[in-house]
Amino acid sequence: MCGIVGLFLKDKSLEPKLGEMLSSMLDVMCDRGPDSAGFAVYGAGEAGRVKLTLRGPEGYDFAALAEKLGSDVRLTERATHAVLSVPEASEADVRASIAKLAPEVTVVGAGARMELYKEVGLPTDVANRFKLAEMSGTHGIGHTRMATESAVTTNGAHPFSTGADQCLVHNGSLSNHRGVRRNLEREGVKIQTDNDSEVAAGYLTARMAKGRSLGEALEDSLNDLDGFYTFVVGTETGFGVLRDPIACKPAVMAETDEYVAFGSEYRALANLPGIENAKVWEPEPAKVYFWERAAA
């Protein structure tokens, strides 16, 4: 089944509340996906620096790792995850050092502003562990998973990030993901897990790497991805939604002057401020919706 949510703020004054709003949306979607949960938040960035979100085993000593990675590395720990802020120029070195020094640690996402957290467990507990409600940002997406195509593991939890500041959550299942994966691998795109949704994320990343915009990449996926899907996608400045042509998976959107919100069901949107006056509609099948904010 799965539940997906997304929130894109138009009103700057709501930014400190992004995490709180997203957290309430995820909370309601627990019964659509109690296995695992994850979310990505586009928070503050710093010119010339990159944020790497790391995931380690329970109780992992990220501080000790950060110490070994050099002096210009800033660490923010959140339960099993940690965000390292490193100078852009040393990203490759830091990644190489992590791979060498800490093979048990995975880089789950990277970008100027994106932070990505996911874990097995009840979505409400997962959001609380990572203190999602305290996070601020411009937009974010989240997922509550009921696994169908691959195992209940943290690796199988959404969102999937396959490019800098890019992430995707998916409700549905793709039927041609093996073929698409083979094509992507020939093009040099690395897919880490056996999950079909990660293939969709990788596909969009590959299209955008070829110069397509998020909206165009989503258009392309209508031709190349087969199966059931509702995707919600984030980039550094954008937020997109696409449903398969048959509209197999549920979706509802709300828009006000302050925000655009997406939920698998209206329940996820019911607690948002000003929802009673929002424009509420069901996104049409095979139609790309996306919002872009002016780059900071």
């Binding site: 048959i246 509209a247 549920p250 509802v252 209206y266 329940r267 009673e276 509420v280 509609w281 099948p285």
Partner: protein
């Protein structure tokens, strides 16, 4: 209002849908509890499903799946949008959605009326069996799929494969139809159909505001539901 008629308020931020529905299902014949106001529906599922009493239920906001499902007799007003399967399998009564409706609105319904002020998504009126559906906006793909009886009136447009494998329902569409489904064809609008359409306008409270001759009628070519030997290889 009848002398002694009671108005009942129910707040779903304090009570459960199960409690609400139990109260509605417990209504005895001749009960004076004729008016029900439901606050904070919050998109919850199955609100006022399975009611069998001549009551009026006003729901103050968007509802989730299957609101008013299996309804008999009741008048249900939804002041917001409705999720999947609003008024599914309704037998009689009226369900009125003031916003948009999601997929499969009025699915399999045998009777009564469903009025949707906004748009209805895919599969509106799928397998309908006698309900009258009026959609003031547009309907999505595969609407009236396998429709057996009743009417579907659409003031806006219809999506792909309208009326696929339709039996005897009548479809009236004012706007464009992306495509007709298998065995669904446009049919002549005779006076009896304009009269029927006018009755549907009355139902939706817009009689006198719309000209029935702006609508086209669609129905079954009746080539599919009788076995025809020439089609044997298609089965």
């Amino acid at each position: 209002m009848n002398a002694g008629a009671q108005s009942n308020a129910f707040d779903l931020s304090h009570s459960t849908v199960r409690e609400l529905n139990a109260a509605l299902h417990g209504l005895k014949q001749g009960s004076n509890a004729l008016f029900w106001r439901i606050a904070h529906p919050g998109g919850l599922h199955a609100i006022a499903a399975g009611v069998d009493a001549p009551v009026t239920i006003e729901i103050d906001g968007p509802v989730g799946y299957y609101c008013g499902g299996m309804n008999k007799q009741a008048t249900i007003l939804i002041k917001g949008s409705a999720g999947v399967g609003v008024a599914e399998n309704m037998m009689s009564g009226l369900v009125h959605v003031e916003g948009d409706a999601s997929q499969a609105a009025g699915a399999t319904a045998h009777g009564g009326a469903l009025i949707i002020d906004g748009n209805a998504a895919a599969r509106c009126g799928i397998s309908m069996k006698g309900i009258d559906i009026v959609v003031k906006g547009s309907v999505g793909h595969m609407s009236a799929f396998m429709a057996q009886a009743g009417t579907l009136t659409v003031f806006g447009d219809a999506g792909e494969a309208l009326g696929d494998s339709i039996y005897e329902a009548r479809l009236y569409v004012r706007g464009s139809v992306t495509s007709l489904g298998a065995d669904c064809i446009e049919k002549e609008m005779r006076d009896e159909h304009k009269q029927q359409l006018f009755e549907r306008f009355k139902l939706a409270g817009v009689d006198g505001q719309i000209d029935p001759s702006e609508f086209k009628r669609y129905g079954s070519a009746r080539n599919l539901y009788h076995f025809h030997v020439d089609n044997a290889s298609n089965y």
